[in-house]
């Protein structure tokens, strides 16, 4: 039963990932990304990580993908990705390098999948027997309290930064503080052409 579940969702995850890379339309890419993300959430569930699976669905498969779709709709879908490669042989080289990367990962994994011993019961799972949520929360709010607080600051900075960048970047301000005026760009291009 578990094996069937694993292979079905592994096929779905790989198909979704390939679809993200291969599909011409960015909207299809975003929707196929959801397939992969949900499959990975199923793998989390199969490995007794219920909290992480729920967060994966809520944050990744809904929030982040919806953000992607919003931006795609805002910018308009440009289906015509240019066929001409600016660097000749880039795609072939990329696939070859990806194959080498995969071979390296598998080779590395074939030697040492997991290093270190399973830790003692009372260290890694304090108050063992509790639910997964409880164990993760206990670890997060004791051992990893400082990193957790710092991620809060990181998220706040990212939100403020995103707003500032998106506001200043275009014609919204319309003032003289445009960082990259267009005439200069033409001048640079004509200069490099000579």
């Amino acid at each position: 039963m578990t094996a069937v579940l694993f292979f079905v969702f592994a096929a779905l995850a790989l198909a979704g990932a390939l679809g993200v890379v291969l599909s011409r339309n960015p909207v299809y890419s975003a929707l196929l990304l959801v397939v992969t993300l949900v499959s990975v959430a199923v793998f989390f569930l199969m490995q007794d990580a219920q909290l992480v699976a729920a967060v994966q669905i809520i944050v990744y498969a809904s929030a982040i993908v919806v953000l992607f779709l919003f931006v795609i709709m805002l910018l308009g879908v440009d289906k015509a990705e240019a066929i001409i490669e600016p660097l000749p042989g880039q795609r072939v080289l990329a696939v070859v390098l990806g194959g080498i990367l995969l071979a390296q990962l598998l080779f590395l994994g074939g030697r040492v999948w997991a290093t270190g011993a399973p830790c003692a019961e009372d260290v890694c799972r304090p108050e063992a027997g509790g639910a997964n949520v409880e164990a993760v929360a206990r670890s997060m709010f004791t051992t990893y309290l400082w990193p957790f607080e710092i991620t809060a600051a990181l998220l706040a900075i990212a939100v403020v930064g995103g707003v500032v960048i998106a506001k200043r970047g275009g014609a919204v301000t319309g003032g003289e503080d445009e960082p990259l005026p267009e005439p200069e760009e033409g001048a640079i291009e004509s200069e490099s052409a000579t």
Binding site: A10, Q47, Y60, S139, L155, G169
Partner: protein, 101 residues
Amino acid sequence: MTITGNYYLVLASLLFSIGAVGLLVRRNVLVMFMCIELMLNAVNLTFVTFSNMLDDVSGQVLVFFTLVVAAAEVAVGLALIVAIFKRRESATADDLHLLEG
């Protein structure tokens, strides 16, 4: 047939490689971002797998930090894409060559 942790790790390396190849092959900046998300997800899968194999909850806590970094990256990255698009009317990586020597 039982599914051991190695199956998950092989699957995660496949997903990571697909994401890496996609990042190199595609030229639309949005799709490149999605490929980065794929790679981050593969890493998350290995974290949870090791957490399960070693019976240690820390792996699952680290997944949260990866998620936060991914969310921050998407927020700032998409804002950058919107800003670039307002100026250039395209979302292709090859058009961004102002720093070219």
